[in-house]
Amino acid sequence: MAMLTVKDLEVYYGVIQALKGISFEVNQGEVIALIGANGAGKTTTLHTLTGLLSSTKGSIIFEDRDITKVPAHKIVEMGIAHVPEGRRIFAELSVYENLMMGAYTRKDKAEIAGTLENVYKRFPRLEERKGQRAGTLSGGEQQMLAMGRALMSHPKLIVMDEPSMGLSPIFVNEIFNIIEEVSAGGTTVLLVEQNAKKALSIADRAYVLETGKIVLEGKADTLMHDDAIKKAYLGE
């Protein structure tokens, strides 16, 4: 049984249908990439997964539990963390307070402190700026914070919406290293990326989304060499 099973998901914005029945699976320990053009429905998929949007049809099963109708905060408690599109950091809170919000569902203070140290090690800039109001961070710094904050919950599954957006090339590499590390640490990863090449290079499997439907799926290295994919998403 997969860790996460999404079946026939349909989502509407008012009368506009954004997802037209998509199904996919994520297995324990995998890194799954979700790629697709602008407006394909990637963000919508992730939002529905973590309960920020509700679906009109279909089901989401996480670790044998149906979470289709479970409210977002409960889903987080069950061990899914979300790095949202557009960062959504708490602008008025300090960097440190933002990170602590990430650990909201956790109780053990010592464990939290350990994770915090880990996050600071991965993102030294955040430690430097721990007292700064998060809203005044630069774009890339905010992206790091969003990532760090999600890691603070020590999730079983982490879903990321374009984590490399706005990062410098050197840091894009770094972020993918971090994702690999996170995965190696036992966390399952569902990754939405525009940088499809990078995403496929670290993913085990991938799904391709087009206008609300999954049009292709397969092993990441197979897809990486698929001509259609190369042409449409890798810019080759």
Binding site: L52, H73, V76, F90, M101, Y104
Partner: protein
């Protein structure tokens, strides 16, 4: 000497504004809504105390506790029925208008239940007055209790919001509800809790308001509600110490302008001072002057 006496009177009036403003600012800061019905919850709270004391013969402490329970339930129910459905409305003004509707509703319910006539509230504060300067200056027991209550509530709320987990949840909710959910915060629960606390404070405010100014009608809460709103903004929206300082300053300015300028245009002076202060400090006395990062 008369200046000091006016000052003391100003503080006692201001402390009443302050205690209302604290509840106001609580809801205002977290749920990001102007709860225009807050003053009317205060009025309902005062009626509960009045009826349970004079009608049912309950003792003051029990009456106040009963009133807090009633107000808390009322606040949460109002939130659930009238405000929650509008939480994701296209404009934040929608819920403001609904709050006005609720305000009318509460006033008219009170009118039907208790009649339009004024009732004299029994002062439940038995704390003695303090005399200074050979009896020339008196600070009434109600004032002392109100100020103490203000300080306790202010410190309590600040600690609660700043240091506890539900408090942190409130801060997160106030900034970005969606992101707060992603942190595992129960947004509905947090907002309900905010209203519960705000309404319980309204009950206390109602008791102290009516102990200081013991006249109770269905409209008792309306004007203090507006004044408390002014005080909250004066002190800086959402700032808990700001609400208290704003309230007390408002009371002092009101009484000093009555005393030294003109009692006829005191209201105008109070508002003029408010405007001047906001023009100098556009986010209130304690408001964070936040520049948008571009």
């Amino acid at each position: 000497m008369s200046f000091i006496s006016h000052l003391i009177n100003g503080i006692s009036l201001g402390s009443v504004y302050a205690i209302i403003a604290l509840g106001y600012t609580m809801v205002y800061g977290i749920a990001k809504m102007l709860n225009f019905a807050h003053g009317d919850v205060i009025m309902i709270g005062a009626y509960v105390v009045f009826t349970s004391m004079t009608g049912m013969g309950l003792n003051p402490i029990l009456s106040i506790l009963l009133s807090m329970v009633v107000c808390t339930v009322l606040g949460v129910v109002i939130e659930r029925i009238a405000y929650k459905p509008l939480r994701n409305a296209a404009s934040p003004l929608a819920v403001l208008i609904t709050a006005i509707g609720i305000s009318y509703l509460l006033q008219n319910v009170a009118l039907l239940l208790f009649g339009a006539g004024a009732k004299t509230f029994t002062n439940v504060v038995t704390f003695p007055s303090i005399s200074l300067a050979g009896g020339k200056l008196t600070i009434t027991g109600v004032t002392i209790v109100t100020i103490l209550a203000c300080i306790v509530i202010m410190v309590g709320l600040s600690l609660f919001v700043g240091k506890t987990k539900p408090g942190r949840a409130m801060q997160a909710v106030s900034e970005d509800r969606g992101a707060a959910q992603l942190m595992g915060v129960n947004v509905n629960g947090t907002i309900a809790l905010t209203f519960a606390i705000g309404s319980a404070l309204a009950a206390i405010a109602g008791v102290l308001l009516c102990s200081a100014y013991p006249s109770l009608t269905p409209y008792t809460g309306a004007m203090p509600g507006i004044k408390a709103f002014v005080a909250a903004v004066f002190g800086g929206i959402g700032s808990i110490p700001g609400a208290m300082i704003g309230g007390i300053l408002l009371g002092i300015i009101e009484l000093l302008s009555k005393a030294y300028i003109s009692s006829q245009v005191a209201d105008a002076i109070v508002f003029a001072v408010l405007i001047v202060v906001l023009l100098i400090k556009p986010t209130g006395l304690f408001g964070k002057n936040i520049q948008e990062k571009v």
